[in-house]
């Protein structure tokens, strides 16, 4: 039985902060089939596209028919824990600092045997479920959890290494003036976050929901104008060392393609509030978060950026804004690479058009703020990296996978 994780004690400022080290991160190219599945929270195994046989570990040829056409197939994640051991002496610094570490061999109902991290509540010989989870090196690893789930399962120390659970962590939500920012604050507070800092630009300007926001448990309103470098740096100086998770919800949506716009003023504002805002936040908060990636039970662990799905391919009707989103997404991919050595994961959340006034003429389906907020909390708890919220975003992703050229034409209609 997992004991509930107690709130972390106040950090002794005289004590040295443990530096992040990575678990082994060398992988074959083929194994990133699993990384892709883990990033989106799917389970499956490498499969032969000719004979259909599943195999593991990932190979470049099928061990049943020698075909070299290998892909991924979803399959049952259930299996039996055939044997376990607890590693007391490890050769890797990451595991030495976290020993003892439980591992085992899971015989999947689907056939292959998988060496896996094993949750403390799994019984030897018992039934387990396997998930692909990104470890702190950002690569997929198999993690066995009891089936059915056990109480306080998320608080198992090995589990917490794989997840980005907001419980007992301190979060910064960058823009509390929006419905999404407010829904985020509520969802994170409900998820057990120790503290939710909520950034508000130009606090003297009233905004809807401000009273409800100030009254939420654990919420602290902070001045933050992401279009102003000094404002971002001031806040980073004040609370940067106490921010374990950032949820960047900022968006500045204006309709129009390239030809309908006169001049670049609006486009510049979109870049200011999107791409450049991310740069400012990254420079203000990124270094200390990367430094604090192994700082105990409430280490820095996640940076969430909420994007429009049109960051992945332009929607000409909102063309200039799509380009700003694309710039931000591209920068965020760099941020992901730069934060990974600290074990801090950059989570991309893609949504279709939201219930925002600037999408007012669009027909449904649209995504509600609460829906995005729940998806973010779910992604943090599962340690996901790429999340598609709502029907439009998921449909977009499927179509992009099938034929990018077709999607390009369809978006232009």
């Amino acid at each position: 039985m997992t004991a509930p994780l107690p709130p972390p004690k106040r950090k002794n400022p005289l004590k040295r902060t443990r530096l992040p080290v990575s678990p082994p991160d060398l992988r074959s190219r083929q194994s990133h089939l699993l990384t892709r599945a883990a990033a989106e929270g799917r389970f499956g195994l490498p499969t032969c596209l000719d004979c259909g046989a599943l195999h593991y570990p990932p190979r470049d040829a099928c061990p049943h028919c020698l075909s070299s056409r290998i892909g991924m197939r979803e399959c049952s994640a259930l299996g039996t824990l055939a044997a376990t051991t607890t590693v007391q002496i490890s050769n890797n610094v990451y595991f030495r600092e976290r020993s003892p570490w439980r591992v085992g061999l899971v015989t999947l109902d689907a056939g292959p045997g998988v060496v896996a991290h094993v949750h403390g509540d799994c019984a030897d010989g018992g039934r387990v479920r396997l998930d692909w989870r990104l470890d702190r090196s950002g690569n997929a690893t198999a993690f066995a959890v009891p089936d059915p789930p056990s109480p306080n399962m998320m608080d198992d120390p090995q589990m917490r290494e794989m997840t980005l659970d907001p419980k007992h962590r301190r979060v910064l939500v960058t823009d509390g003036r929006t419905a999404l920012g407010q829904a985020m604050a509520k969802a994170l507070s409900d998820a057990g976050a120790a503290l939710v800092f909520v950034g508000i630009a130009e606090a003297w300007k009233p905004f809807p929901g401000s009273e409800r926001l100030s009254a939420m448990r654990g919420v602290e309103i902070m001045p933050l104008d992401m279009t102003d470098t000094d404002s971002v740096n001031d806040l980073a100086d004040a609370i940067g060392a106490r921010v374990d998770i950032i949820v960047n919800t900022g968006a500045h949506i204006r309709p129009g393609g390239l030809l309908e716009r006169k001049g670049v003023t609006v486009a510049r504002e979109e870049l200011e509030a999107g791409y450049l805002a991310l740069l400012r936040l990254a420079q203000g908060f990124g270094p200390v978060m990367r430094f604090r990636g192994a700082d105990g039970a409430n280490s820095a662990c996640a940076w969430v950026n909420v994007f429009s799905i049109y960051a992945q391919m332009a929607w000409p009707a909102y063309g200039a804004w799509s380009a700003a989103q694309a710039a931000m997404l591209n920068a965020s991919l760099s941020l992901r690479g730069e934060l990974r050595p600290g074990g801090v994961r950059v989570v991309h959340v893609f949504t279709g058009p939201t219930e925002d006034e600037w999408f007012q003429p669009l027909p449904p389906p649209k995504v509600a703020a609460g829906q995005i907020a729940s998806a973010v909390v779910d992604a943090l708890r599962r340690g996901l990296e790429d999340v598609y919220v709502g029907d439009v975003a998921q449909d977009f992703r499927a179509r992009l996978d099938l034929n990018p050229k077709a999607l390009e034409r369809e978006l232009g209609q």
Binding site: S28, Y56, P57, A82, T85, V87, Q88, N91, V103
Partner: protein, 393 residues
Amino acid sequence: MARFAVPPRQGYGDVVVCAPVTVPYQRYSTESAHWWIGRALKALTETAGLRRQDLDGFLVSSFTLFPDTAIGLTQHYGLSPRWLDHIPMGGASGILALRKAARAVQAGDCAIAACVAGDTNHVDSFRKSLSTFSRFAQDAVYPYGSGGPNASFALICAHYMRMYGATREDFGKLAVAQRANALRFPHALMRKPLTLDDYLSARMIADPIGLYDCVMPCAGAEAFLVMREATARALGLPFARLLATIERHNAHAEDAIQHRGGWSVDIGELYTMAGIAPEALSFIQTYDDYPVISLMQLEDLGLCAKGEAKDFVRANSFTVDGTMPHNTSGGQLSVGQAGCAGGFLGMVEAIRQLTGTALGGQVANARYGLVSGFGMITYDRGLASGAAILGGA
């Protein structure tokens, strides 16, 4: 109906093995694998009274030669062989080397094959080699706690104990007997006596693998020569005959966890080819990176029925002077594991025992010896297995 007939295997005729060589092990070495293998080659030539030019066959087994392979070594050592092989196959390399060299000599591809296994061990080299040991290990084992082979064999050991009822006392008995043998062997790195109590109370490394289940990585080299009997007699070298061998890789892939090795597929052929029964063996050298694997070998090599190694262990003493002498120089558990040389240790010791030239305890009237090899756990099981039966002259 098979679509083609598999021809029967030929015997090894007058092929013999001789000139057992050990370059004394060191826990850590600042030297390279090239240095260790070079020392072994020199010792071979001195032992056999040969010039290096006389070695027209050369086989090398090593993990730490990078960036070289066997071919680069020919120029490094000034050799000009007409038969060359490189088998970085760890614990199976002694058997595999002998099989290859014996056929080369038998067919006349070379007259004298030098088989050398050697590895260095720098302070950091074991850790480094673990993380890149195999692609499967890199993708699917090392990221899970990085326990190395200790953790992988812990899973096999835990499962074996549950399946067959073997206990840590059984494993400990083998480790203790090997230490007793090692105390008489001048090259063993472990010099202190070991009791069953020491074994049982030692710290856990990855349960049920404790400290004394593990071998100590070190630097060292082992070597021997393969030639025809007439050549050995002309050189005045004491020799052992090669009676039979088997080799099998990735056997029993259907077993969810390894509880048997490839020997069990071919064991009938081994004794038939040798023309003896297991009872005729004077000693056995198993590959002992973890005693549980030795128990598995006792079963799969026909010394007892499957699952009954625990009873066999309880019924024998395994010391040089006792019943069923086993790992008579101390095995890797007590001598140390010098990389691929670990796969040669049993072979070199068997040649010494059968030629009456043991450096430590000599088995009385040693007539037939069984040597077994095992290794290469690239994912969840040891893939390579092989065995050879040697006879005295």
